[in-house]
Symmetry: C2
Subunit: 553 residues, 2 copies
Amino acid sequence: MKMIRVALAALALGMTGTAAHADTLFDDVQGITLDEEGKIQRFVALLVGDDGRIKQVFQRGEELPRDVDFREDGRGRVMMPGLFDAHVHVMGIGFGALTLDLSQTKSLEEAQALIAAYVEEFPDRPWILGRGWNQEIWGLGRFPTAAELDAVVGDRPVWLERVDGHAAWANSKALELAGVTASTQSPSGGRIERLPGTRTPSGVFVDAAMDLVQKVVLPPRPVDRDLALQAAQKILVRNGIVAVADMGTTIEDWQSFRRAGDSGALDIRIVSYAAGIDNMSLIGGPGPTRWLYGDRLHMAGVKLYLDGALGSRGAWLKEPYADAPDQTGLPLATPAQLRNTMSRASLNNFQLAIHAIGDAANAEVLNAIDDLDETYEGDRRWRIEHAQIVAPQDLARFGQLGVIASMQPLHQTSDMFMAEARLDPARLEGAYAWDTIRENGGHLAFGSDAPVEPADAFAGLAVAVSRQNAEGEPYGGWRSEEAINFEQALAAFTTGAAYAAFAEDRLGRIAPGMRADFLFVDRDPTMASPSQLRETRVLETWIGGRRVYREAE
Amino acid sequence: MKMIRVALAALALGMTGTAAHADTLFDDVQGITLDEEGKIQRFVALLVGDDGRIKQVFQRGEELPRDVDFREDGRGRVMMPGLFDAHVHVMGIGFGALTLDLSQTKSLEEAQALIAAYVEEFPDRPWILGRGWNQEIWGLGRFPTAAELDAVVGDRPVWLERVDGHAAWANSKALELAGVTASTQSPSGGRIERLPGTRTPSGVFVDAAMDLVQKVVLPPRPVDRDLALQAAQKILVRNGIVAVADMGTTIEDWQSFRRAGDSGALDIRIVSYAAGIDNMSLIGGPGPTRWLYGDRLHMAGVKLYLDGALGSRGAWLKEPYADAPDQTGLPLATPAQLRNTMSRASLNNFQLAIHAIGDAANAEVLNAIDDLDETYEGDRRWRIEHAQIVAPQDLARFGQLGVIASMQPLHQTSDMFMAEARLDPARLEGAYAWDTIRENGGHLAFGSDAPVEPADAFAGLAVAVSRQNAEGEPYGGWRSEEAINFEQALAAFTTGAAYAAFAEDRLGRIAPGMRADFLFVDRDPTMASPSQLRETRVLETWIGGRRVYREAE
């Protein structure tokens, strides 16, 4: 036993000695990347050091090193930077993959059939959990009801989140377990939907009201969380996403990230924004964490919410909803609360990432940033998440205040028809206004908001340049003056997202000193039409000089 | 900028290459360690690899390697294994060092003077926090009162824990902030002391009642926690303690440990036992954590409490206290609760470390272990923390059930006179019964319970072999038949403590494959009398082959 131990120690030492000099040359690639000015640059080879960083990039005609330890033949394929998704919910992606997915259903009946099949497939699950339904796509003209779920499953509780995560749908068993009855009041910041003309809960809960049921759902076990993280990782690397900003990390999420990091099972790079102030203090302590596990994990700041979503009319608007003249949505904090919370985070150098969807919410966050910016000097990189509906006069303020607009192209095409119902044309002037924000000096960082939308950055790039959905609708693009060009879109999904996470010194470009995060893809995206761009296939994903995904042959 | 980055990367690679072969020879030492059979072995030199592990140990006459990278001349000094304290509260040690220390006061008046000086020294602290008082030592014959604190400080709240952590003393301002009045009921598992013949709270709160005030004390900030950890580390390495079992780690404590580990500021080795089930799940997730930071941090299990302490009559006894015939102490869980909690932890392979001081508590934990031992097979290493008063017929059960008796020699001398007041001689038969437990095959792991006692393992060793306090009292030792010999005592503070933490494969001995954790001390402890042993000076402390402490010249 003693002998074996000694021998192993010696072996470990030997390996370290050798590995220290192992460089890998990737040659015969059609490389594209952005340079520091955001212009496309091409290259033909790449030298990656043993530490997972890029040592050298070779342009056509430059002499390649002969004496390298390893060589990867690019076989003429296109190499591009790994994509950085600036707004995801990592555990949500994973749990989404492990739970019932209703996002592809086109009708209530189709959803009911899927639920019935799932219930049969998993007879042991105490709760039937799912997400992704959208009554707008179903053409229902109203929310679904508990009775419509009871028709499928009555003996076990069912709890299904809407596609935007701002509403959820329960069956009667779940209502019973939650103790919700006709006499239950809607909590502040939320709404219990009622059957028309009655106080009877209809089964759908909006925003803060979701807690009434959520609190009785059995929480996932740590082992489930770890499975979810692995499932999320698989989805992300398959889609060419090498880094994400995780929006709303709880301490449980963080511990799962760390377990993966500790055991060498963390492939992707996660920049974490804690779910509120308490998680912020628990996770970060006196300030943002270090970059851990070779730049794979870093807690940078805190995610706050100022309003809800447009679909559930939770977005806070300056004027009432066009299709609900008695509603303007809800601010989730008073001006003083917002500034106090921002102040507490800024004091300890945590970055702020604030969810604001409606024009009132965006204006208020911009006002708060304006108020705090003088006190908290230095490079703060205030982030507004979504920034979907901005009053036209506020668009230039992103640039003036150096604010990052962390936006999600796919929301534009998913929401466009709904947005036209919710808002009059004057307000649509500042809707998903990527180019205006960019032109006025705002920093664009693009993401998917997965699992709200698929974690599909190539679809995001296609929408960014076209303002059209997968069906090519609408012809010519929706308010196409806000489309941006490919270079700008790629920047928003790489260098812009990295900048938004204080990571531009290590991630986002293929250049010496940066982490070797890149993709082999099946086409040159700079030459692709929007629909071709959307169909780009990721052949291989490399993170830190290590291949983490390869398309099945 | 780009050039500098490349140069730095190259430099980093180069350093790794060199360091991989850097062995250090420690020669001309008078080395002592225990072998696998627990016998003292002597050696004269030691080869330590770059990974901080011991590669080779050389006996007198063996040829030493010539071709080593570094050499440390032992100059004939005594080298011994670093000590492993099997029961401490790391953050308590640190906060203790940063807060008012009343443990050396010999009278109420002396304590009042110290408090007054502290209040003047720190005019900005919103709360005056401290610990360490002991009304027994003061010869007060009763608990102190709020009025006796008010006489010193009235404008700020004061909250002072008793030496055993099982009671605390508040002034009137603190009572006011906590809203405690004559009509406040004592909570279950705790007691509000009252002024004689009245319902008026006297100012002292026992066990669970402490929460009434504790909950309004402003919690330490994360930066305070990090300072406390550094303060604790300083104290431990100065005393020759290289590893500890942390009994009752909260998620906040854990995050502080991780911050230190992440930044390379964690010198000592901490095996963590979470403070209850919720912290267990948060810290460990699906099971015990890996060994992190080169075996410097590991969460192994969970700390539970079944009773309180003897001093405050919270220890749960089979028969009433001799000096309080209406009290038997309090069990803090029902039999079913205890078994359920143990079961939940064991199911996920968390080790159990259960606080039991009274004979009823010890019997009940042994019963529960007996009940669970069949279900949870494998190497469980159930720990009973303290095991101070055990019914004589239960002593052999430690060995029968393979239970670890995690005991604290200094408690024996601190408590002996109090124990004689609390218990009749028949029950003292099983008090601090180290040798009987050992002789019957129980595993001894020794610790200090710091900050309840000083983190002074040499004092612990001295008591272990003598059953005498620093003054040499009582003559011949208190119930000296339970004293153990030096070899056995050293084992309990090294290999025994390592075994109790599932760490015997890496810590506790100076042998090939083990971490290079050792001390230079000013004398040969195998030759020392108890009082000489107690006065041993630590000259240098080395952890993982790195010097972390050196006595000032």
